[in-house]
């Protein structure tokens, strides 16, 4: 008899213990919008650890240090948080792009990250914002930058028993903002053909003093593209600088041809997205 055991612990420690000691396949359940679909047609014994009863997993706190985002906070709740949106509008927009209105009530940034799809919308936005993953496991706590968290297609650096317990977004410098854009052939309910998250810091005279550019859906993992950032830093984000950033992103991308797009198309479009996202982020940073 196949059995699925469901547990809903109320502390990180209990969750880690359950995950670490499970004799069958163990999955963390946040919103479940990926997990439940993946379980369809699977008939193996498994342990489901629902983390929504753990208060810190479901809370998002803004402080002088930045934002401490509980990985299981639903996208709909994030979209309603004007305080977070004021700091990281691009990240909130990325989270808003996931799924339908119904899915928005369940899906979360942490879930999107742990599912580790190459096309995940929030990952480039997190990378652009220097987000850090706090991971707790049987051997204690460690912190990993988001760009190092995902290691392959639906693979990440977490090992058995580990749980993503917090996403830390450091407080950006003054006159900094972000944007995330993705390309899909329709208006919603689709998977990114390419995505770009950009964070821009402007000096008093409008010169770009700092930038982070991350791209998605154009390699096995989202990529941080320092060359694209370098093309922007020191410029006033004129057309030449934006095009140089776009070209750097196209050059850094390593897409595949599949039913969602060709190599040539993805390489081109990811550059267009970087250019456009940089412009939006700069407008936000200046205003």
């Amino acid at each position: 008899m196949v059995s699925v055991v469901y547990e809903a612990p109320d502390s990180i420690q209990d969750a880690v213990k359950l995950l670490a000691t499970s004799k069958v396949k163990a999955n963390v359940l946040a919103g479940g919008t990926d997990l439940l679909v993946q379980m369809r047609g699977q008939h193996e014994p498994r342990l489901i650890v629902d983390v929504k009863k753990i208060a810190s997993m479901m809370a998002a706190n803004v402080s002088a240090d930045g934002v401490a985002l509980g990985p299981a906070v639903p996208s709909a709740e994030l979209s309603a948080r004007d305080d977070i949106k004021a700091i990281f509008p691009g990240l909130v927009e990325a989270a808003y792009l996931i799924g339908s209105t119904q899915v928005q009530g369940r899906c979360s940034v942490g879930g999107n990250l742990c599912n580790s799809s190459p096309a995940a919308d929030t990952i480039p936005a997190l990378i652009a914002n220097r987000a850090q993953c706090v991971i707790e496991g049987p051997d204690g706590e460690r912190t990993v930058a988001v760009e190092d968290f995902v290691t392959g297609v639906q693979r990440n650096c977490m090992t058995k028993g580990e749980l993503l317990t917090m996403i830390k977004l450091p407080q950006p410098a003054p006159r900094t903002s972000d944007a995330y854009l993705r390309f899909i052939p329709r208006t919603e309910m689709d998977i990114a053909v390419a995505g770009a998250g950009v964070s821009i810091t402007l000096g008093e005279d409008g010169t770009c003093t700092d930038a982070r550019v991350a791209i998605g859906a154009v390699a096995v993992t989202a990529l941080l593209v320092p060359e694209a950032a370098a093309a922007l830093i020191g410029s006033k984000l004129d057309d030449a600088a934006l095009q140089a950033a776009a070209d750097a992103a196209s050059a850094a991308s390593k897409p595949i041809t599949d039913r969602r797009g060709t190599i040539e198309y993805r390489k081109h479009v990811v550059g267009v997205l970087v250019k456009r996202a940089a412009k939006i982020a700069a407008e936000r940073a200046g205003g």
Partner: protein, 738 residues
């Protein structure tokens, strides 16, 4: 007569009778029926596009403790049935997803497990995945004994070209000699699916006494009975088919796939069997529409008179010859134009894809796309407004069609005029937006419909009709019965009973239902009126001729006597028995429906993404019985046509395997992808229908292809010739042009 007539009930926007059930979730669809002791059927499908089936070993599956029955092609009793090879493959698997075997087991999971135990020994063959490859010299043959039909001489060698047809009128060469300008272009359209939301499903029971039942989602339960009975040698009287509520069909539910399989499994197991396709199976195993390659050449004089029209059409038929809607493609292509010299040649070609099925105006969108694109290019070259160019050459009453009859009164000119004066066409274009217009023609059909109206003792009536309701026909039937009997619409309830309760009805298709079944309703209602008069006459001791039926009341012409329908019905038992009206007809004279669409599209030149920013559909309804449903048909047709134009296509890999069998990557438009589709109903009555009705369901999918194709071409300044106009294709065209 209908033009001047005032109607009391038709033409209103009443509340739809099926609305409550659908909104509350109470409606029962194909997958909603479960029976006691029911078991689950699953179909094993070919993992190859083209393969010889050397052997099928089902012994391990049969030995599975939860398996009740296994079926292969050998279990089909009537092997000569032409559809049997698509139901379960015999010697060859002809496309990725072709049904090869089936099992029935206690649970879905056990059935799935058992599928894995069936051993099929395949010899994989080279797949033939498109027209070019299929017609190449030395192409692998899909059928060893397929010799092209319709050539002047029988070919000496088999090929993948199943048939050729041609049609002509006038003198095509003389026509081109008269032309000042001639444009010839070749166009391609992809394999597309109807995209109905409800997957195929059925629950089937074969009893020990030989009685059997099918519950399924279909556009024609009488045809489900006919084909299943023929394939399995069952008498029609012993097979009852119940049509469930239907979640979309668009032509794709006019054939059987799983119903005969479930019946075989039920007969073998002695249990009711349920089979439900998942979305993946729907895309792989049902019938999409033909991909095509069409060349069109049109000549015109400087004054805008078209002198000659020529086309060469190539339609994929899927893996079985003769399935392509080539005839309609050839017949419709030039019908919007009153041009003497026309020539069309067409080819039906087999490829390793699913057997194509009907899709809304089958065959017409592809061929008319090619024609309308060239018409628009000619208009530009001649410097004439595209609507004026069409008006100058428009088909009208007495125009001789290429395919046979002269047209009766039709509404093309009226649609073009309505388009020209529409707020949309009169509006200025924003920078970067392209505008396209296109016309569309579809014949519509009539056919066999059988209707009964049972009058109840309280004076209400039940309309029994046999056309599954895919577009609101129950409301229209109710309204037409009300009109004919001059009784309030709420007097009538319309139901679609099973095949045992009515004589045969043709399938809901060809936009025939409101026209043909509507005429049967009118005839049945007239039959009721006749009997009402007889009953009143008997009570008043006068002749029926002396009784008038006015405003829903019998009036004695010789006196003051009046009798309501309720009074006649309440008394019916004492005046000769209960009253039933009957209308069993073969409707002739379906009036064609012409349409004209206007599309405004803006292309993002950096990404190639095209957004439809404004869209208007104008079409002739003859007489709109329920205008909201008519508008819904226009909008639905436009939405599907826009999808066909912009993003929908079957994507196969190099091995001929379908890569996008799901709505995530087979992109039908979402509500947010479309603007509100504006509609204009034109009414030029069809003289064959008492109220002037024309079918409206199909024409609306035809004009979008060229309207969108032209709008995109204008937005980017490059003439596009291949659908879909997906972002990568548009971007490539822009990059190559610069």
């Amino acid at each position: 007569m209908s033009e001047a007539q005032d109607y009391k009930y038709i033409g209103q926007r009443t509340i739809r009778p099926d609305g409550y059930d659908k909104v509350t979730g109470r409606a029962n669809y194909a997958a909603d029926l479960a029976l006691p002791n029911m078991i689950w059927g699953k179909v094993l499908r070919s993992p190859h596009a083209h393969a010889k089936i050397k052997s099928i070993d089902t012994s391990a599956a049969e030995a599975h403790p939860d398996v009740f029955a296994v079926a292969t092609h050998a279990d089909i009793p009537n092997q000569r049935n032409p559809g049997a090879l698509n139901i379960l493959a015999k010697d060859k698997a002809l496309y990725h997803g072709h049904a090869v075997a089936a099992v029935a087991a206690r649970t879905e999971q056990a059935a799935e497990e058992a599928l894995g135990l069936i051993k099929v020994d395949y010899e994989v063959l080279t797949p033939v995945m498109n027209l070019d490859d299929a017609m190449a010299p030395n192409a692998p043959l899909i059928h060893d004994q397929l010799f092209t039909n319709g050539l002047p001489e029988k070919p000496s060698k088999p090929s993948n070209v199943a048939s050729r047809m041609e049609m002509s009128k006038g003198d095509i060469e003389a026509g081109f000699k008269e032309a000042d300008i001639v444009i010839e272009r070749e166009f391609r359209t992809p394999t597309v699916h109807q995209g109905y939301i409800e997957p195929h499903a059925c629950t089937v029971r074969y009893d020990a006494d030989g009685q059997s039942m099918i519950w399924c989602s279909t556009q024609g339960h009488f045809d489900v009975r006919g084909s299943t009975a023929n394939m399995l040698n069952i008498e029609h009287s012993k097979l009852k088919v119940i049509a469930s509520e239907i979640g979309g069909g668009f032509g794709g539910k006019t054939t059987v796939y799983i119903e005969p399989v479930a019946m075989i499994l039920s007969r073998k197991s002695g249990r009711p069997v349920k089979i439900q396709m998942d979305r993946d199976e729907v895309f792989k195993g049902s019938g999409p529409a033909s991909a095509t390659r069409n060349k069109v050449k049109i000549g015109a004089r400087k004054d805008g008179t078209i002198t000659a029209m020529e086309a060469h059409l190539y339609y994929e038929s899927g893996a079985f010859p003769g399935a392509a809607p080539l005839g309609p493609g050839c017949m419709t292509i030039f019908t919007p134009y009153d041009v003497e010299n026309q020539y069309v040649e067409g080819f039906d070609v087999v490829v390793n894809k699913p057997k194509v099925a009907a899709y809304r105006a089958p065959g017409a969108p592809q061929s008319e796309f090619a024609c309308e694109m060239v018409i628009n290019e000619l208009a530009d070259e001649l410097g004439i407004d595209p609507i004026d160019f069409r008006l100058k050459n428009a088909a009208k009453e007495d125009t001789q069609t290429l395919y046979g009859p002269k047209l009766k009164a039709v509404g093309l000119v009226e649609c073009l005029e309505a388009a020209k004066s529409s707020p949309h066409y009169q509006s200025a274009l924003e920078q970067g937006v392209g505008r396209g217009v296109a016309a569309g023609f579809w014949f519509n059909i009539g056919g066999v419909s059988s209707v009964i109206i049972n009058m109840n003792p309280d004076g209400t009536g039940t309309v029994l009709e046999g056309s599954p309701d895919i577009g609101g026909s129950r409301a229209s039937m109710q309204m037409m019965a009300a009109e004919e009997l001059q009784l309030p619409i709420e007097t009538f309830t319309t139901i679609i009973p099973d095949t045992a309760h009515l004589a045969h009805n043709d399938t809901t298709g060809g936009s025939r239902t409101t026209f043909a079944t509507g005429m049967a309703v009118i005839e049945a209602a007239a039959d009721v009126v006749r009997q009402f008069k007889e009953r009143a006459a008997a009570v008043w001791n006068v002749t029926p001729e002396q009784v008038q039926w006015t405003d829903g009341v019998a009036i004695n012409a010789n006196g003051e006597d009046k009798m309501t329908a309720a009074e006649i019905c309440a008394n019916a038992g004492r005046t000769g028995g209960q009253i039933t009206g009957r209308g069993n007809i073969n409707a002739r004279g379906a009036g064609p429906s012409f349409g004209v669409h206007i599309a405004d599209i803006k292309v993002d030149r950096e990404t190639g993404k095209a957004d439809v920013v404004r869209y208007t559909a104008i079409q002739d309804a003859g007489k709109a019985i329920h205008p909201s449903y008519v508008e819904g048909q226009y909008q639905g047709g436009a939405a599907q046509g826009i999808g066909w134009s912009m993003n929908e296509e079957y994507i196969y890999n190099k091995d001929g395997l379908l890569e996008n069998p799901g709505f995530l990557d087979y992109r039908i438009p979402l509500a947010s992808d479309l603007p509100m589709i504006e509609t204009i109903i034109v009414e030029v009555p069809n003289s064959f229908h008492p109220y002037g009705v024309r079918g409206v369901g199909e024409t609306g999918i035809i004009p979008p292809l060229a309207a969108c194709g032209t709008a995109v071409s204008k937005s980017i300044g490059i003439r596009m010739t291949e659908l879909p106009l997906s972002p990568p294709r548009i971007l490539k065209a822009i990059q190559e042009a610069s």
